[in-house]
């Protein structure tokens, strides 16, 4: 397929992700998070699931990133002070990464090349969503409205 593209995108996303995790400034971290997500979307494009990639971009960058940025804005009073870095967390994260890689490398069955697949059209996804997975779709709709209302109530400030 496109090894080169894969490598480029991989490096790009991981770098952005690492930046998001380690950058001092909160705003930069948030923005690099957005960039990392674009990387992940690129991965999805690479894997042939354009729709999901676009959905990811649309939802995450369109909404979540903006939300994060807004939250940073609303909690401005102490963004200046750096809360410091907790090394124990880093060690655990590395350990987990080690464990995961060990597990992945150990299982040889994963070493397979992507079979040729018919292009995933939005129609197939649409049909699947609307027939077999119509209930989960409704539930997710319900969940989203509930989350919306919940978030609003949480943040709603009673006028004095």
């Amino acid at each position: 397929m496109n090894g080169v593209a894969f490598i480029v995108i991989a490096i790009f996303t991981l770098a952005a992700a690492l930046a998001a995790a380690t950058l001092r400034k909160l705003m930069h971290a948030a923005l690099s998070f957005a960039v990392a997500l674009v990387g992940v979307a690129a991965f999805f494009f690479l894997l042939g699931a354009e729709f999901v990639g676009l959905a990811l971009v649309f939802i995450y960058i369109g909404a979540v990133a903006v939300l994060i940025v807004f939250t940073i804005l609303l909690t401005r009073r102490d963004t200046g002070k750096d809360h410091g870095f907790n090394w124990a967390g880093a060690i655990i994260a590395v350990a987990v990464f080690g464990g995961l890689t060990w597990a992945i490398l150990k299982t040889q069955s994963l070493v397979i090349v992507a079979p040729h697949t018919p292009a995933l059209t939005v129609k197939r996804i649409g049909v699947a969503l609307m027939t077999t997975y119509v209930w989960p779709l409704q539930c997710v709709g319900l969940l989203l409205t509930a989350a919306l209302i919940g978030a609003l109530i949480l943040v709603l400030e009673e006028k004095p």
């Binding site: 957005a34 676009l54 960058i61 940025v69």
Partner: protein, 395 residues
């Protein structure tokens, strides 16, 4: 012969590509997309330049004056003058501003604008970037503008720009919803997200004269109008240009920008306008189809750009006539009128489809829209709607 004229650009491209027969496959792909990009940029930058001056001339004519006519014949070289002006101005960056974010903002916003242009079919098989879910791509990328605007506001470390950015984002988010929901009926009726299929669906003509454009169906017209209004808001154009309202907060999130960065902002705004109206044309005005069977002989791209310029004229016309709306009026209008109407368009489209897509469907969907519209207008009686403005100062 007509066909060859119609396909002249496409053939040109193939001709160019034929030069690279021996190169590996991915290389030819890269080159072909490069060609597309260059063509796209060329066309739309010239259009940008043209429009900037035309806009000022039309505005002037509306205000009963001439507008720029000193530079070149009828002031046509005015954009070049502006361009040069912008380039040679000093690029001031606020001291404690967040330099990276400050710098990246205009870049991102321009990139996004150009990206959205890539999906629109300008003529018969003249779509620069054909992917399965074209419209979704358009909106996915489009949504990055909010982030860019925020970066601009945040990066310039200036209260006014921050406030301007907040207002712009609030405005754009509120109108993003109606924008997308009005697109839904078209996608639903056509059954696909790819722009080409949408345009193809509007090819036929009823009774040979009336084209099957969606704009001529009741729900299509309503959706088109709503889409157009949301387009105005998305590109921060006149009735809704609160963010950079000169009288209130200087240039909104663009206050701290000068020189070339400001030019890019300005360009991005226009490109955004082209993209939105281009999409409007593809979705509702039958893309590059001729308005009547008889006029088929005129090449497709001519029709596309004709319709595009008509819409742009309306943009400028609107800018010239309507006063600026208050931010809370705009918000109420979005949530209380636009959104319900957008939903009714979907229902109307469904009714239109199930009532047989013919005259009967036409009447039924008209009825639905009329009922909801009148109901909403009664409900949102202006006297009561605009509650006294509550001044809440930022904590």
């Amino acid at each position: 012969m007509i066909k060859s004229i119609d396909q002249v650009f496409v053939n040109a491209k193939h001709w160019l590509l034929s030069w690279l027969a021996g190169w590996p496959n991915w290389a030819t792909q890269v080159v072909s997309s490069l060609i597309n990009i260059l063509a796209l940029l060329a066309v739309f930058l010239t259009l940008f330049a043209l429009l900037s001056v035309l806009e000022r001339k039309i505005l002037a004519r509306i205000q009963n004056r001439y507008g720029p006519n000193r530079v070149g014949p009828f002031g046509l070289f005015q954009p070049i003058a502006d361009g040069i002006k912008m380039l040679i101005k000093e690029d001031i960056v606020p001291v404690r501003a967040d330099k990276i974010v400050h710098f990246l903002a205009p870049v991102l916003i321009a990139a996004v604008a150009i990206l959205t242009l890539g999906v629109i079919p300008y003529g018969r098989n003249m779509t620069p970037f054909t992917i399965d879910c074209g419209i979704l791509f358009f909106f996915a990328v489009g949504s990055a503008t909010e982030l860019a605007v925020f970066m601009a506001g945040w990066g310039s470390n200036n209260k006014f720009s921050m406030l301007g950015a907040m207002r712009a984002i609030a405005q754009m988010i509120s109108y993003e919803l109606p924008l997308i929901i009005t697109v839904l009926p078209v996608v639903m009726v056509v059954g696909s997200l790819t722009a080409d299929r949408i345009v193809a669906a509007q090819a036929d003509y009823t009774y040979g004269v009336v084209p099957r454009w969606f704009a001529f169906t009741p729900w299509g017209l309503a959706a088109f109008i709503l889409f157009f209004i949301s387009g105005l808001v998305e590109s921060n154009r006149t009735p809704f240009d609160v963010p950079e309202g000169e009288s209130e907060i200087v240039a909104g999130h663009m206050t701290e920008y000068s020189g070339f960065k400001y030019a890019t902002f300005f360009m991005a705004e226009y490109l955004g306008m082209f993209a939105i109206s281009g999409l409007a044309v593809t979705l509702f005005l039958g893309g590059w189809h001729a308005p009547a069977h008889a006029l088929e002989f005129i090449p497709s791209y001519v029709w596309f750009f004709a319709k595009l310029s008509a819409l742009l004229f309306v943009y400028v016309w609107v800018r010239g006539t309507l006063p600026r709306t208050r931010i809370d009026q705009m918000m109420n209008f979005a949530w209380k009128f636009m959104l319900p109407m957008a939903f009714t368009c979907i229902v109307a489209a469904a009714v239109w489809h199930y009532a047989g897509r013919g005259l009967r469907g036409w009447l039924w969907s008209l009825l639905v829209i009329a009922i909801v519209y009148s109901g909403l207008s009664i409900l949102l009686d202006t006297k009561r709607k605009f509650a006294p403005r509550v001044y809440r100062f930022a904590e």
